[in-house]
């Protein structure tokens, strides 16, 4: 799994951080998403998929493979 985030789209509501704190964080000053791990381990995959599904701004993309 390969994760990418689009900082320009992110509206900082933090859903991804709540769901997958190992993979996503937010910048201190403006709440924009920070990707902690672009290739999360298999145990994280379900949570990352859920984060992508609830992201209100469509800012999280998941590429398959590996």
């Amino acid at each position: 799994m390969k994760v990418t985030v689009d900082e320009d789209k992110c509206c900082g509501a933090g859903n991804c951080v709540l769901l997958a704190p190992e993979v996503f964080d937010q910048r201190e000053d403006d709440g924009i998403v920070l990707l902690l791990n672009a290739e999360p381990a298999g145990t994280e995959h379900a949570r990352v998929r859920e984060a992508a599904a609830v992201c209100p701004a469509g800012a999280i993309r998941i590429g398959e493979g590996a």
Binding site: G12, A13, G14, P21, R27, D30, G31, V54, P56
Partner: protein, 406 residues
């Protein structure tokens, strides 16, 4: 399906918002909920005779709320207004489109990150504990709205923004007037004006004497030339109103719903599991969906969806209370089930306007639902359900009063 509806045909359309069934104060209006069976999009008639689209299904609401060609700008022709609009005044970013919406939202987003909000949890717990101490020491029965549900978010948001709590009655009264659905346009404009003037004065104070609060940060943007003073005051009004009555209604209406579902209430009373409590908050948000007037937008271009074409300039109402009861997403949607996984609900909206304060709202509700019923285990209603005054007329649903005893 015709694109434009002649007057006579519009007479037969369901009126929106609808009327809730008398015995089901927690369920959406039956006639509106039933529209979901007719397909994702139908037409409804508003108070002004306009006939915007009503979107009732979860998938289509999410698709439309995150569509780049829909606008939140109330000043555009075709926007489905919930009440007459008085011209003039500046708009807050909830009614703006990107890029300006994004620019302004980002200025305050940092105050609502998951981590920042988590750091406020002990302070919120102290506020909640203190108010419950007062309840227990005070007379019975008591109105839970006045004595608990409103003060919790008021204290929190005043603290965060740097608004003196002494002024809380003042903004309480004015924000109530603004969000009541049946307030006249003049009354709403007057109340909005008073709040605006008050926040404008506060921004002025913060310009001269900045503190460690959000309004001081907003004032600093004025100094830096990134916001006008009017924009800053308007932003303050938005944060004050949006974070206040919503959370209060979730506390009071949520408590009422739990009192009517004693088995569910027992789960909260008996569990210390933060996961269960967090899950319960999501389910109550889904089930009660207090923002019951729908997310309102206007199409900027023709949009094809679910076999229909929404024309540029047509109004759209995404009834998120109905989407949160979509059986395709939530099995047995009309059941309150604190143990279900409700995290996909859209009670905070969806798309770029999704609630800015949701981490804060979630945390406040977790503390409240996780504390109140444990500390007052015999909490009960001090009147009959059918004597409770519900906010049928509110932009945000809830109860005006909740007499309880223990």
């Amino acid at each position: 399906m015709t694109e434009t509806l002649p007057g006579t045909q519009s007479e037969t359309l369901p009126e929106f918002p609808g009327v809730r069934a008398e015995k089901c104060p927690f369920d959406p209006p039956p006639r509106i909920q039933a529209l979901q069976q007719d397909g994702p999009l139908t037409r409804v008639r508003l108070w002004d005779g306009s006939t915007p689209w009503l979107v009732t299904t979860y998938a289509e609401q999410k698709a439309l709320l995150s569509h780049p060609q829909i606008s939140s700008d109330v000043t555009r022709p075709g926007y489905p207004l919930s009440a007459p609009r008085t011209a003039g005044g500046s708009l807050s970013f909830i009614l703006m489109d990107d890029p300006e919406h994004h620019r302004q939202r980002r200025m305050v987003q940092g105050a609502f990150t998951v981590r920042r909000v988590e750091s406020m949890r002990p302070a919120v717990q102290r506020i909640v504990d203190g108010l419950i101490d007062d309840l227990l020491a005070g007379p019975r029965p008591v109105d839970l709205v006045e004595a608990f549900a409103l003060p919790v978010p008021s204290l929190v948001i005043c603290e965060l923004l740097g608004v003196p709590y002494a002024d809380h009655d003042f903004f309480q009264d004015n924000s109530k007037t603004i969000i009541k659905r049946d307030t006249t346009a003049e009354e709403r404009a007057a109340a909005g004006g008073r709040l605006f003037d008050y926040l404008d004065g506060l921004v002025g104070d913060k310009l001269d004497h900045p503190g460690d609060d959000l309004l001081s940060q907003v004032a600093a943007r004025v100094k830096a030339g990134e916001l006008t003073r009017a924009e800053a005051a308007q932003m303050g009004v938005l944060l004050l109103i949006a974070g206040h009555e919503t959370t209060a209604n979730m506390i009071a209406l949520g408590t009422l719903a739990l009192l009517q579902h004693p088995g569910q209430l027992a789960l909260l009373r008996e569990s210390d599991d933060p996961k269960l409590i967090a899950g319960a908050v999501e389910e109550l948000l889904r089930y009660l969906n207090i923002t019951h007037s729908g997310r309102r937008r206007v199409a900027l271009a023709d949009i094809e969806i679910a076999g229909q074409v929404i024309r540029a300039g047509e109004g759209l109402i995404m009834a998120n209370d109905i989407a949160n009861r979509d059986p395709a997403v939530f099995p047995d949607p009309d059941e309150l089930d604190l143990r279900r996984d409700a995290r996909r609900h859209i009670a905070f909206g969806f798309g770029v306007h999704q609630c800015l304060g949701q981490p804060l709202a979630r945390m406040e509700l977790q503390v409240v639902y996780g504390t109140l019923y444990k500390r007052i285990p015999t909490l009960t209603l001090a009147t009959d359900l059918d004597r409770i005054p519900f906010k049928h007329d509110g932009q945000v649903y809830g109860v005006y009063e909740l007499p309880v005893t223990w």
